[in-house]
């Protein structure tokens, strides 16, 4: 552990937001200092409650997060926000605009907001988001709100990271139920029907409730939790206290039923695999001997890709020709 990482970890634990922001940057950039800071703080028990906010583009996730910050602050909680937006697959750049909706909290010292670009990671989060959530926790925030990119049906990483996952839907998305029925619906611990003042809200609610009944039957046998549906108008803050109460009830349920421990174990295992997936290719390639010659032989058609890959996986270099 370098002196620099230890110093950064100490400052971060003391609540220094500049140190926190820099450590997150190290994680994003793949700087080894980031991993060192994480290892330094990782021994501490989880304190912060992680609430994931996900849903299709245009559902009002950022506005809802903004309203949740207000309500959490009213309840005396310190709030960290990780807001994820997609990187362009063409340029690698990104426009990160989520905090635009959270401007009014900028000067509140009890609020930390960090925008993150996905940087090529699929699944609705950035690769560094999990580590960043751990760091925000270590910096003393009580709640971490994790806002995903606008998701489709299979971008569900947030459910692995969050303790409580809120799925946001809106009336009039055309077939809102279609959008939710695969994957996204199953990961919801709490449903928010946002923009509930729009026409079509009642029929959207009826559709969602019908699906919820099915979902409750599907979860039969698991520790009992029927995901509640809360109507919100985030722009006005309507329904937001009720939404937070529902998240709180879920937290109590996780603790009381043992489901929280089960999920924590699963989360640890998933994080382990995710870290390996991320880091293994680079490490393998770094370890391979004669990589340049292997690639050259491959490109020249002297060996095939299967043999070349097998050689590198086995820890060697150029396979015998």
């Amino acid at each position: 552990m370098s002196e620099r990482a230890r110093d950064a970890a100490a400052r971060l634990r003391a609540g220094d937001t500049a140190a926190l922001a820099r450590a997150i940057r190290w994680l994003e950039d793949g700087d080894a200092l980031g991993a060192s800071v994480l290892r330094e703080v990782a021994g501490a028990p989880e304190r912060a409650w992680r609430i994931g906010v996900t849903g299709p583009a245009g559902a009002g996730k950022s506005t809802l997060v903004d309203a949740l910050i207000t309500e959490l602050r009213r309840r005396g909680q310190r709030v960290g926000v990780l807001a994820v937006d997609p990187s362009s697959p063409f340029s690698g750049g990104a426009l990160l605009g989520d905090r635009l909706r959270m401007q009014r909290h900028t000067l509140d010292p009890g609020v930390f907001i960090r925008s993150m670009a996905t940087r090529g990671r699929m699944g609705g989060l950035a690769s560094a988001t999990h580590g960043a959530a751990i760091l925000v926790d270590a910096a003393g925030f009580d709640v971490v709100l994790i806002e995903t990119v606008g998701v489709g049906q299979d971008e569900l990483d947030v459910a692995e990271l969050a303790h409580t996952t809120v799925v946001v839907s809106v009336p009039g998305l055309g077939d809102e139920v279609q959008a939710l029925k695969a994957g996204l619906f199953e990961v919801a611990d709490v449903h928010a029907l946002n923009k509930a003042d729009l026409p079509g809200a009642d029929s959207a609610e009826r559709n969602l409730r019908a699906l919820l009944d099915l979902e409750t039957q599907r979860r039969e046998g698991e520790p009992r939790w029927a995901p509640p549906l809360v109507r919100t108008v985030a722009a006005r803050g309507d329904g937001v206290p009720a939404l937070l109460d529902a998240c709180d009830a879920h937290r109590v349920h996780l603790a009381a039923s043992g489901e929280g421990e089960r999920r924590a174990a699963t989360r640890a295992e998933q994080l382990f695999y995710a870290l390996l997936r991320e880091q293994a290719p680079q490490r393998l390639l770094a370890r391979a001997t004669d990589l340049d010659r292997t690639i050259a032989a491959l490109r020249a058609g002297e060996i095939d890709a299967f043999a070349a890959a097998e050689a590198v996986l086995a820890g060697g270099g150029l396979p015998a020709l």
Partner: protein, 135 residues
């Protein structure tokens, strides 16, 4: 994982023109940068708080009102006070040359006025970044 240049674009003061900043944001993104747009009517305090929380490398300040002198100097002062003066501060907007000169003297690295192209801005940032990374 490659390093990416992170840029905060902020509009200071009371003007509500967004077209210029939107064009610049898209151009920087297309040049591979991560651009945080924090919105209109930012105060210097908000800009500095955001720059630190987002750990940006570059702070681009735009001002179309005559208050740029005091706003820009306050941003620089706050960045110094927070130990964050390693960030590149750029100015843009409708700024007369004699003000631009004063801003540069204050520590604004460059001032891009209405005739500037996005290519000039990108090249300036990339040159600065390459030099800093080489250190």
């Amino acid at each position: 994982m490659a390093k990416r240049i992170r840029v905060l674009l902020a509009k200071l003061g009371l003007d509500s023109h967004t077209i210029g900043v939107t064009v610049i944001a898209k151009a920087l993104r297309d040049a591979g940068m991560e651009v945080i747009y924090s919105g209109l009517k930012q105060t210097p305090e908000m800009v500095v708080r955001t720059a630190i929380q987002e750990d940006v490398d570059v702070v681009g300040l735009s001002s179309l009102s005559a208050a740029h002198m005091s706003h820009f100097s306050r941003v620089l002062e706050l960045l110094r006070a927070e130990g964050a003066s390693d960030k590149l501060v750029l100015g843009g907007g409708v700024i007369p040359e004699r003000d631009a000169e004063k801003l540069r003297a204050m520590g604004v690295a460059a001032v891009f006025t209405m005739g500037a192209t996005t290519t000039e801005i990108i090249e300036f940032i990339e040159r600065w970044w390459t030099q800093r990374e080489a250190q």
